[in-house]
């Protein structure tokens, strides 16, 4: 690492948050993160789910390995920093290596606080802090432990107790004070929580001070003795009484340390080169033990490290939610205060706490947490509350819509409402799964998931995800629409709209409807351009300035000198602003005005490459047996033929294919919607590959002996996807949703007759499709198809078709 870089010490949620905030602001600055644990940064919060058997250890990692590679973040796993010299800018690792840095972030987190009890080191006594603790606790439960005790009745202790009950262990929670979760709850709320916990089958002993842990005959823990002298048998003890910041490294480095590493409002420690974030940091005398403050701190720390100015960190309002156990409990800020307004009945307790100036400083909700996002937001902002009772009532009725855009929805990942809406509206995410993958909202403790789903529905215009409506306004699924077209023998989008209302309100689904009608009605389909996106009205891809791009078809990526010369002439004559080789093995002319399209097509004399449509795009090829010394299959000829057979067909989403001559995969067949690979003695056909925003290796659909069979299987799969894919569902999602086996049965089981029928319907669709819509230049669908009211299409003279030169082969 160069001495200009930033060193992050500790790869917990805090270290990761600092790295993410840094990379959001600066893609270049060298970044190294030293992770004391063997695993890449993972989600500690979800250990509760792991213990309760609701998550798998493999799901915990916060970001996939590739994330770090892509962003050039160096991870040193299983390494600890043993000494830090901020003046010299060096850090010594446990393997003796010395790293130099320009600046550093101390994110060393905390350890579970262990009370100084005799017997604490007995086998069978565990903390609840990391995956190893979880593993030890679950294997003890699996080995038949009967009775367990959890020391500590805070949030974590209760979640640990619940996890053990789920695993069939009798559990007693032993708590020092007179109510559970006393840091977050007042007496009345605690009184409501107690029976709810007991109802889960957990015993609770309040006001019990553990004095000693007792060994059994086998030397393992067998119980505990309380200060009163009473005893409780237990062959598993989980200690969960709090955290202790890990500050040794910082202290030895000469940084100011109290309970935690002392930081100012810019998260700077007492040394200007070093910041600190997370459970190891102490800000204005407070060490936070939850995730939300980490994100707030990390954003400011990143600004500080990069020398950017931004808002200061002025502290966080602590919030708590019980997760996994199905008890509704949310708190924010103070539990008691000068003025309290309570709304309670036997089952629920809702309280807002207001300070002397009338500002909201706390909320406690047990049994009924409706509107907690709104209340938490009011508390976080310290808003003035005129009528706290009215606020409580209003919150009960609040919906996702009522939240302000900057209200934090996911505390674990610091995601606010506006970001979730933007993921749909700006970034085009269509489902909550995509939104969650993009924003990470709802992927931490999971307690905000329902709200995230509501917000996604709000942003997608009320679209329920189950079922997936093609037309959310008229609540019509693809299946319903297909049935309507079939039963009513409809042949146009207008008829479909008249029949069921789909496409009338916002119009966004009209291209989807057009596809459904064209697919079902095939040769009967009556094309209506108003139902098509502008790209499909003028057969070119619209650009950011309203001009268009022109990509002619160059099958298999194979061209000729004549063709290249013609393209060059056109580009020169029209002063085309940009000529570019595309990622799809063809050539793009960019920045063309609508009015010039027909003339340019005529002068090119090449068919449309459909690069603007949800349709078959390209079949990439490699040089295969023609030239390559490793070639096993004739990739070029096979690819060109496959492209000819498929071109012109519309599809639920775009379809890209490739044919490679051998498994070296130079045409990238493994990551195509349809990928064909030459092998010794035949061909493999892969489907559902992707290398766009999602990377997925295609599934092997079939292995066949001949080129004809490879093409036949590809076309049969294409038709199956055309008939069953949801609108805008790429094959990688389609294959995962439907399952490879189902697809194989439909596409390969010749005995069933279905493959034959698919091929017949494919032939009808192919015959009905328009292989070259660019020919509309000779017969526009209306006089102004390629112009505005105030412009005319450029006139051109018809050039007699040249004899298409055969590709050099």
């Amino acid at each position: 690492m160069s001495s200009t870089g930033i060193l992050v010490i500790g790869g917990g949620i805090a270290g990761q948050a600092v790295v993410e905030e840094l990379r959001r602001r600066d893609a270049q600055v060298p970044l190294t993160m030293v992770c004391g644990e063997q695993a890449a940064p993972y989600d500690r919060v979800r250990l509760s789910h792991l213990l309760a058997g609701e998550a798998d250890a493999s799901e915990l990692q916060l970001r996939p390995d590739a994330w770090y590679e892509d962003r050039q973040v160096e991870l040193l796993l299983g390494r600890t920093v043993t000494a830090l010299d901020p003046d010299r800018g060096t850090a010594t690792l446990d393997d003796g290596r010395v790293l130099s840095f320009e600046q550093a972030a101390v994110t060393t987190g905390s350890d579970a606080l262990m009370p100084p009890l005799p017997g604490l080191d007995l086998p069978g006594v565990h903390a609840f802090r990391d995956p190893a603790d979880c593993e030890a606790i679950t294997s003890a439960a699996a080995a038949g432990v009967k009775r367990a005790a959890v020391i500590g009745g805070g949030l974590l202790g209760l979640e640990a107790a619940y996890g053990l009950v789920q695993r069939g262990v009798e559990v007693t929670v032993v708590h020092l004070v007179d109510r559970l979760m006393e840091r977050q709850l007042d007496a009345a709320a605690g009184a409501l929580l107690l029976p709810a916990i007991q109802a889960l089958g957990v015993e609770v002993l309040l006001e019990h001070a553990t004095a000693e842990l007792l060994p059994g005959d086998d030397g393992r823990v067998a119980g505990m003795r309380f200060a009163s002298g009473a005893e409780l048998p237990a062959d598993l003890v989980v200690v969960s009484i709090g955290i202790r910041s890990r500050t040794d490294l910082a202290r030895a480095a000469g940084l100011d340390v109290n309970r935690g590493v002392v930081v100012d409002d810019r998260l700077r420690t007492s040394h200007p080169r070093v910041v600190s974030v997370g459970e190891c940091a102490e800000h204005r005398g407070i060490v936070h033990g939850i995730v939300a403050p980490i994100h707030e701190q990390a954003a400011v720390a990143a600004d500080t490290l990069l020398g950017l100015t931004g808002p200061a960190y002025e502290g966080s309002v602590p919030t708590a939610k019980l997760k996994v156990m199905g008890i509704d409990l949310v708190t924010a800020g103070a539990a008691t205060g000068p003025r309290e307004v309570i709304n309670a009945d036997g089952d629920s307790y809702r309280k807002v706490i207001v300070d002397a100036d009338g500002r909201a400083i706390g909320a406690v909700l047990v049994g009924d947490t409706r509107g907690h996002e709104l209340l938490t937001d009011v508390v976080k902002r310290g808003k003035e509350v005129e009528d706290a009772l009215a606020l409580l009532v209003e919150a009960s009725a609040a919906t996702a819509e009522d939240l302000p855009d900057d209200a934090q929805v996911c505390n674990c990942n610091g995601v606010c409402k506006g970001e979730i809406l933007d993921a749909v509206r700006v970034d085009g995410c269509a489902s909550s799964r995509e939104v969650m993958a993009r924003t990470r909202a709802g992927t931490g403790c999971g307690s905000c998931k329902e709200l995230v789903l509501d917000l996604v529905a709000l942003a997608t215009g009320g679209a329920d995800e189950e079922p997936a409506y093609l037309c959310p306004c008229a609540k019509q699924t693809r299946e319903q629409l297909v049935a309507a077209v079939r039963e009513g023998e409809l042949s146009s989008v207008s008829e479909l709209t008249a029949a069921c209302g789909a496409g009338r309100d916002c119009g966004a689904c009209k291209p989807g409807l057009a596809y459904v009608v064209s697919e079902v009605a095939a040769s009967r389909h009556r094309e209506e351009r108003h139902a098509r996106f502008i790209n499909d009205r003028v057969h070119a891809n619209i650009q950011k300035d309203g001009t268009f791009s022109v990509i002619p078809r160059i099958r298999g990526g194979v061209t000729t000198p004549q063709e290249l010369r013609r393209i060059a002439d056109v580009a020169e004559r029209h002063e085309v602003p940009m000529v570019k080789i595309t990622g799809g093995q063809r050539i793009d002319l960019l920045g063309i005005r609508k009015e010039a399209l027909p003339r340019i097509w005529e002068e090119l004399g090449m068919p449309s490459g459909h690069a603007y449509a949800k349709s078959v795009r390209t079949v990439k090829t490699c040089v295969g047996t023609d030239f390559c010394r490793f070639g096993l299959g004739d990739a070029i000829a096979t690819g060109i033929e496959l492209e000819r057979r498929m071109e012109g067909l519309y599809t639920p989403h775009k379809v890209k294919a490739a044919v490679s001559g051998c498994p070296r995969n130079c045409a990238e067949s493994y990551v195509k919607d349809i990928g064909v690979v030459g092998i010794e003695g035949g061909w493999e056909i892969y489907v559902g590959g992707a290398a766009g925003s999602t990377i997925r290796r295609g599934d092997l659909l079939a292995t066949v002996a001949t080129r004809e069979d490879a093409i036949a299987v590809s076309l049969t799969f294409l038709q199956y996807y055309r008939e069953h894919g949801e609108h805008l569902e790429r094959t990688h999602r389609f294959v995962e949703r439907v399952g490879l086996e189902t697809i194989q049965a439909a596409v390969l089981d010749e005995d069933s007759g279905e493959p034959e029928r698919l091929r017949e319907r494919f032939a009808i669709a192919k015959a009905a499709c328009d292989p070259d819509p660019w020919l509309e230049r000779h017969a526009p669908v209306n006089p102004k198809q390629f112009a505005e009211l105030d412009t005319e299409p450029e006139p051109f003279t018809v050039i007699p078709p040249a004899t298409t030169p055969e590709p050099v082969r």
């Binding site: 509206r425 309100d505 916002c506 119009g507 966004a508 108003h530 619209i542 309203g546 102004k784 009211l789």
Partner: protein
């Protein structure tokens, strides 16, 4: 067409043939250097500013439904009746709405007098 306020006087300008704007589509006109999009729905013709306030997308190329158009670039949606953005924030800019009539097959656009 709510902007057709009774008190305002307008000058009518011929902008092209009504037949050149197919049903449920839009086309652009330029009046005094200003781009205006004219749309054809089953309720007649509508005209609004032609340039999307988001990033100047060409609104005439948008998808049209009952009473709205969706910008082809990033999907902002506007009411053709009021020019207001649908589904956006309260501070989003609106499009100006112009009256249109058809006279002898010609589209006549009403521009408010200064």
């Amino acid at each position: 067409m709510t902007a057709f306020a009774d008190t305002e006087t307008v000058t009518w300008i011929a902008v092209g043939a009504a037949a050149d704007v197919p049903l449920w589509e839009g086309r652009r006109v330029t009046v005094e250097g200003q781009r205006i999009a004219v749309f054809h729905t089953d309720a007649g013709f509508h005209a609004v500013d032609g340039s999307c306030p988001h990033k100047q997308g060409p609104l005439q190329d948008g998808l049209v439904a009952d009473d709205c158009v969706t910008c082809p670039l990033h999907g902002w949606r506007f009411s053709l009746g009021t020019g207001e953005r649908i589904g956006g924030g309260p501070d989003d800019p609106s499009l100006r709405v112009y009256p249109v009539i058809v006279h002898d097959g010609e589209l006549m656009l009403g521009l408010p007098d200064e």
